[in-house]
């Protein structure tokens, strides 16, 4: 409540001071955590990039990382998949910890084949540790796998499948050109009312 005994000057000083304080704290927050992402942070994205690149690896076509699959997942975590936010936050942290315990290195710093072997373990449910006593490593893996495939093959409007790369890979025109060679006369020549006699 604004006390009536406040002079106008005092009041102005109060509110501008307040604003400055807000600005400062906002600035500090940004410095600590400048992120282009919606839910995940840089470190989580780094780990996720390595995982999605395993799910859909680069060969003669780009893989999950290039196709912005992590961006797809981050975007969904802020929209359709809000219900999975904690599963990602806690699951990725536990995964990171588990790998460091196993290998002494972060997952994203390991050679590709070693990463593959770790994910095979996770898929088979072979992780141990406090977190994994209560959470299924296989379920966590399958969730990321499903979401990665959605991000790679779904419409780019959801943040993944950059440039319709998966459609290029499958040899599907996009956009499909409507009207080319789609019509012929064979359907007309088949039209024969006498055909009904067979049905009687």
């Amino acid at each position: 409540m604004i006390n009536q005994s406040f002079s106008r000057r005092e009041f102005v000083r109060l509110i501008t001071g307040g604003t400055a304080a807000v600005l400062i704290s906002f600035n500090t927050a940004c410095k600590n955590k400048i992120s282009q992402w919606r839910y995940l942070d840089e470190e989580e994205i780094g780990l996720l990039d390595a995982i999605v690149e395993q799910i859909i690896p680069t060969d003669d076509f780009p893989g999950g990382k290039w196709a912005n699959v992590s961006n797809f997942i981050d975007k969904q975590l802020d929209t359709y998949y809000r219900k999975h936010q904690l599963a990602y936050r806690e699951g990725l942290a536990a995964f990171d910890k588990t790998v460091i315990l196993m290998k002494g290195k972060k997952f994203e710093d390991l050679p590709f084949d070693e990463q593959t072997a770790i994910l095979e373990n996770m898929e088979a449910g072979e992780f141990s540790g406090d977190y994994w006593n209560d959470h299924s490593p296989a379920d966590f893996f399958d969730m990321i796998r499903q979401h990665s495939l959605q991000g790679f093959y779904g419409s780019p409007l959801h943040g993944g499948n950059r440039g319709y790369i998966s459609y290029h890979m499958l040899g599907l025109d996009y956009p499909k050109v409507i009207g080319q060679n789609r019509y012929n006369d064979s359907s007309w020549s088949k039209y024969n009312p006498k055909s009904l006699e067979n049905g009687k």
Binding site: I55, D59, Y153, H158, S166, R182, W188, N198
Partner: protein, 550 residues
């Protein structure tokens, strides 16, 4: 202000309700057609696979929404869990003007005459509540025809020796085969089978003021960008509205049918677009909300004479829910078989339906609609690695080199496979939610194996170099083909309505949707639901003047 009294309220603007509304409105009755969803267009959705009605990890594009609609499903441990429309265990059917007929694949099957008296043909089946329909194919034939002409079907039965008898040809010529169809036609003929083009509720030529098909890749699961696919939303509902007798109220969720103490329906209660509770009185009520939601509404409409729900004194409302036990096989080919001519499904055989003495029922076999890229990621032989290099190689190599053949096995009705109302859980509006439980009959699995074997033989003859089968199990939640929960019958003890869809117990409530089906045929049910809409609607209008119903 109170809503003006009307002759009829029709609940649900899908296949059944859209047709009934048109029949009543053109017959001179005043109608309120009430729909919980809204209008949808292709432009709104585009060809986004992740929000289609076929694969829907993000949401069901054509409704209902996850924010206000949920159900309970068995958790596998004798308890229940909350499930949402975009989970398979929910058992979704679209909620919008036109409902499933906006985004369906639009196969236009008539059931076989024998499908209307299965019990007479096969005798009682243990563990099944199988019965004959009170309605014969011959009685329904002209209503099938009306649906084919008013909604619009393209087809040609010349080469199908098992085609149900028909008086008139289809109004439009059949579609020609795509590359898969051409390969499969030759193979089927070599096997002595009788392939023919699938009849479709889709314009092969300009018809009824709507354009011809442009063969989208994204057809099933999506609206049509040019309106070539026929649903009630672009055929009968506009006709109903044009009469001036029918008002369509969208975004309105019906909570209850009001039944008075003398056992007559007085109208409905519903939540309007602003979630405000409203009443609409009427002389009669037609429920066309799909097998699950129709049953839910009746069960939620409790009154003095019907404490267990409207028309449910015998306990049959919600029982016997069926779907189809889809079965079949996938084949990989050396050469590309994909030519990008949508919707993909084009060729069928009726050779394995009702023709084998030791097989009860059966189903049609067809090539499948185009499998979109994300959907294809789950199509693998069992034991395949579902990620990494194996995944990507399979995807790249086989997307254009595989054919799927499958068919809807006619499920044997099981009394305890059912829709109930949850005693505790309520939806966004406070309406008790549906819960669906029960298991398929063993016969469905047996027929599933039988038909999958036939699909495999067909693929092999077509040149597939690797084939695997996909046979259904006992667990299922009926979704887009749901049926059977308010079956029609002559005996009021073992059915919910008479042969005209009129409740045995409340003569001014009618049902007009898949709920009426005594059994669900070995075919996609849309045309039968449309035909029943004409049948029920026609009966109401014919008997309206004069009348016992008013």
């Amino acid at each position: 202000m109170a809503n003006k009294h009307v002759n009829a309220v029709v609940i649900g603007a899908g296949a059944g309700g859209g047709v009934v509304a048109k029949e009543l409105a053109t017959g001179g009755l005043t109608v309120v057609l009430i729909e919980r969803g809204r209008w949808h267009t292709f432009d709104e959705h585009g060809d986004d696979e992740l929000t289609s009605q076929r694969t829907f990890p993000l949401k069901c594009g054509y409704g209902p929404d996850n924010e206000r609609n949920w159900r309970m499903a068995p958790d596998g441990k004798n308890g229940w869990i909350k499930v949402f429309p975009n989970q398979w265990s929910y058992g979704n059917n679209a909620a919008c003007v036109g409902s499933g007929t906006v985004s369906y694949g639009a196969m236009a099957w008539r059931y076989q005459p024998v499908d209307f008296h299965l019990k007479t043909k096969y005798g009682a089946v243990q563990g099944s509540s199988l019965d004959d329909w009170p309605l014969s194919y011959d009685e329904l034939e002209s209503y099938y025809e009306k649906a084919e002409y008013e909604i619009g079907v393209a087809g040609d039965p010349t080469n199908d020796p098992y085609v149900p008898p028909r008086k008139k040809p289809y109004p439009m010529p059949a579609f020609s085969y795509n590359r898969e169809g051409i390969i499969l036609e030759k193979a089927a003929k070599r096997l002595g089978l009788h392939p023919f083009p699938i009849p479709m509720l889709r314009n092969s030529v300009r018809y009824n003021g709507r354009a011809a098909c442009i063969h989208m890749r994204t057809c099933v699961g999506f609206a049509c960008p040019v309106g070539a696919k026929a649903g009630t939303q672009n055929t009968v509902i506009p006709v109903a509205l044009k009469t001036g007798n029918c008002e369509l109220r969208i975004n309105c969720m019906v909570s209850e049918i009001i039944v008075d103490d003398r056992g007559k329906a007085k109208g409905i209660k519903y939540f309007d677009a602003d979630n405000k509770l409203q009443e609409q009185t009427s002389d009669l009520v037609v429920v066309s909300a799909s097998a699950s939601e129709t049953a839910r509404l009746l069960l939620n409409s409790k009154s003095k004479l019907f404490p267990n729900g409207a028309g449910n004194n015998n306990g049959w409302v919600g029982k016997n829910i069926q779907d189809h036990a889809y079965t079949g096989a996938y084949g990989l080919f050396e050469d590309e078989v994909y030519d990008d001519v949508g919707p993909g499904a084009c060729i069928a055989i009726n050779d394995f339906n009702h023709r084998f003495p030791d097989i009860i029922g059966g189903g049609v076999l067809c090539n499948e609609f185009i499998r979109m890229p994300f959907q294809f990621t789950s199509i693998r032989p069992s034991g395949s690695r579902m990620w990494g290099k194996d995944h990507k190689d399979f995807q790249k190599h086989n997307f254009k080199r595989h054919i799927a053949i499958h068919g809807p096995v006619q499920e044997m009705p099981v009394f305890d496979k059912m829709v109930e109302v949850d005693p505790v859980v309520r939806d966004f509006w406070g309406i008790p939610v549906a819960r669906i439980s029960g298991f398929r009959h063993d016969n469905d699995i047996k027929v599933g194996h039988f038909l999958a074997d036939k699909a495999e033989v067909w693929l092999k003859e077509a040149g597939a170099i690797y084939i695997w089968q996909a046979v259904p199990g006992k667990e299922s939640t009926p979704s887009q083909h749901q049926s059977g929960t308010c079956r029609m019958g002559n005996d009021p003890k073992t059915s919910v309505t008479n042969k005209y869809g009129q409740l045995h117990e409340i003569d001014n409530i009618f049902i007009a949707d898949g709920s009426l089906h005594v059994n669900n045929g070995g075919y996609n049910p849309a045309l039968t639901i449309l035909a029943l809409g004409y049948w029920v609607g026609g009966h109401i209008t014919e008997n309206w003047r004069g009348t016992k119903m008013k």
